[in-house]
């Protein structure tokens, strides 16, 4: 039986304020209160890195500037390949200083406002662009033992392709995986859990009622009127994947958060 990853709690995704915000202070307050609430619950706060290529403030600088206390094993930083080398090191050094061990290493989405690591900068040869594989290897080499490196697993991609990508990620130093949002159960995730008994798997639960937003992630059109109850789905995921931790995206802090403790137990 695979061990639990690092905590036995929920992974709660928190989006940092966007750079373009016109109400910075309000957004910062909202971020702080969500973060502190996750800390108090003993869960793990997962902070995204310019998700969808939209510029947002970095998780590490938010924690520093807002003087937030990162509980042990309670923060996971998403880290993608769209950084300068100097910024990458700044982020990694800040994580280390704040005692943050968990990184979710992804290729990420670029935009014309974001720089991108070059193969030469991370000592990668024979590739045209840096992906999560090269970044994993680089972090493993330059910060040996400092981080637990997670990677994304997409069961909606062609299966062979995705498993061979996972093998490359594991060879590059990945130690756990987080899936795309799963509705109830997915055979490829079952296969993942079965085939990689030593790899902790975190299953993502989509907590928005608007399931049509997942169309792009799953690669087929989900119509807007598709009924979806995120809380029921979460319960089902607990039943179907009792050995896995669960990653909550687009969680409603007002209405859904108070229900979490009960659902878990």
């Amino acid at each position: 039986m695979k061990q639990h990853l690092l905590t036995s709690a929920y992974h709660v995704e928190i989006l940092p304020p966007k750079q373009e915000t016109e109400k910075l202070y309000e957004d910062l307050d909202r971020f702080s209160s969500k973060f502190e609430r996750v800390m108090q619950s003993g869960y793990c706060a997962c902070i995204t890195d310019n998700a969808m290529g939209n510029l947002a403030f970095q998780g590490t600088e938010l924690i520093e500037e807002l003087e937030l206390e990162a509980g042990r094993n309670q923060v996971m930083i998403h880290l993608n390949t769209f950084h300068t080398k100097a910024d990458l090191h700044r982020i990694l050094d800040s994580c280390k200083a704040a005692g943050i061990r968990q990184l979710l290493v992804i290729t990420g989405d670029g935009s014309d406002r974001l720089p991108r690591l070059t193969p030469a900068e991370v000592g990668a040869e024979g590739v045209e662009a840096v992906t999560s594989v090269e970044l994993l290897r680089y972090i493993g080499e330059t910060y040996p033992g400092d981080f637990d490196l997670g990677v994304a697993f997409n069961p909606y991609e062609p299966e062979d392709h995705e498993f061979s990508k996972l093998d490359r990620k594991i060879a590059a130093g990945a130690t756990f995986a987080i899936t795309q949002p799963i509705i109830e159960r997915h055979p490829v995730v079952d296969k993942l859990i079965e085939s990689y008994p030593d790899l902790p798997v975190v299953v993502e639960a989509w907590m928005s009622k608007k399931i049509s937003l997942l169309s792009e992630a799953v690669g087929y059109e989900i119509s807007e009127d598709t009924p979806y109850d995120p809380i029921e789905n979460l319960k089902t995921l607990h039943r179907n994947y009792p050995q896995c931790e669960i990653y909550l995206s687009i969680l409603g802090f007002k209405t859904q958060y108070p229900l979490l403790e009960e659902i878990r137990n």
Partner: protein
């Protein structure tokens, strides 16, 4: 070295929607962003300042909410910002816009260099940079991809052309417009942004820049938009191939062969 960077707040074009009835751009509630090309202009100015010293001023013309783009500039290293905002500027075309900006640059005084992005993504005209240069009677270098050298009297820059580039030296003061290739703008930090939030940004009106009212806004704009239409679509019927891959591909190649295209 005193450098003025002209920046513009533009609608995020991905969101641009047309009102089906009025056929006009819906501007209400639309997201606005700093013109992406202007971020390269700011970075170029800040790099010059870091190398040879001086001051970087970000200048914009627009409604009061455009103050956000000036703060973005200060966040990444500009020293201060100035916003031109007045009803009198409303309806300006590129002629009147470049006139107003040139007056502001004269009012700031002792400016050595003006940097603009190569164009704004809403209008895509690329006319304001050279227009400012013309109003000031300064030399210009457009589509600059690299600043090879800069000193108190001159600037040497590589200008990008469709077929290559040329290297030119212009006397200062001058106006340059820059393309993406020139640099990689630094990503704003929260620390920088918090400092920028605290800065007072002066708002200048037409009277503050000693402008001739006849040359401002709608009065000063020779061009008029008389109507807008949605672009015309192609009027052809599509063949949709959604069967098994082999079959679709065979049919596609057949379509190409029928037209002697392969």
């Amino acid at each position: 070295m005193r450098i003025v960077v002209c920046v513009k707040q533009v609608p995020g074009t991905h969101d641009a929607k047309i009102d089906p009835e009025t056929k006009r751009i819906i501007r209400e509630g639309i997201k606005v962003v700093i013109n992406p090309f202007d971020t390269y202009a700011i970075e170029a100015a800040v790099q010059i300042k870091e190398e040879i010293g001086g001051e970087v001023i970000v200048l914009s013309m627009g409604p009061s909410r455009a103050i956000t783009v000036l703060r973005e500039g200060i966040t990444v290293g500009a020293d201060r910002g100035i916003l031109l905002s007045d009803r009198a500027f409303g309806g300006s075309d590129t002629w009147a816009t470049s006139y107003a900006l040139s007056r502001a640059i004269e009012t700031i005084g002792d400016v050595d260099l003006v940097i603009c992005g190569k164009q704004a993504i809403d209008g895509d005209t690329a006319q304001v940079g050279p227009g400012i240069a013309a109003h000031l009677s300064w030399p210009q270098a457009t589509y600059v991809m690299d600043i090879a050298d800069i000193n108190s009297g001159s600037l040497t820059a590589r200008r990008m052309h469709e077929d290559g580039w040329d290297l030119c030296a212009v006397k200062l003061p001058a106006v340059i417009t820059v393309v993406k290739d020139i640099n990689q703008p630094r990503v704003p930090t929260l620390k920088g942004r918090l400092a920028a939030e605290k800065q007072e940004i002066p708002i200048w009106k037409a009277a503050d820049i000693g402008a001739d009212p006849e040359r401002l806004g709608l009065n000063g704009s020779p061009t008029r938009v008389v109507k807008t239409n949605p672009p015309q679509g192609r009027m052809k019927k599509s063949v949709v191939l959604d069967g098994p891959v082999e079959q679709s591909v065979r049919r596609l190649v057949q379509e190409l062969r029928q037209r002697s295209l392969v």
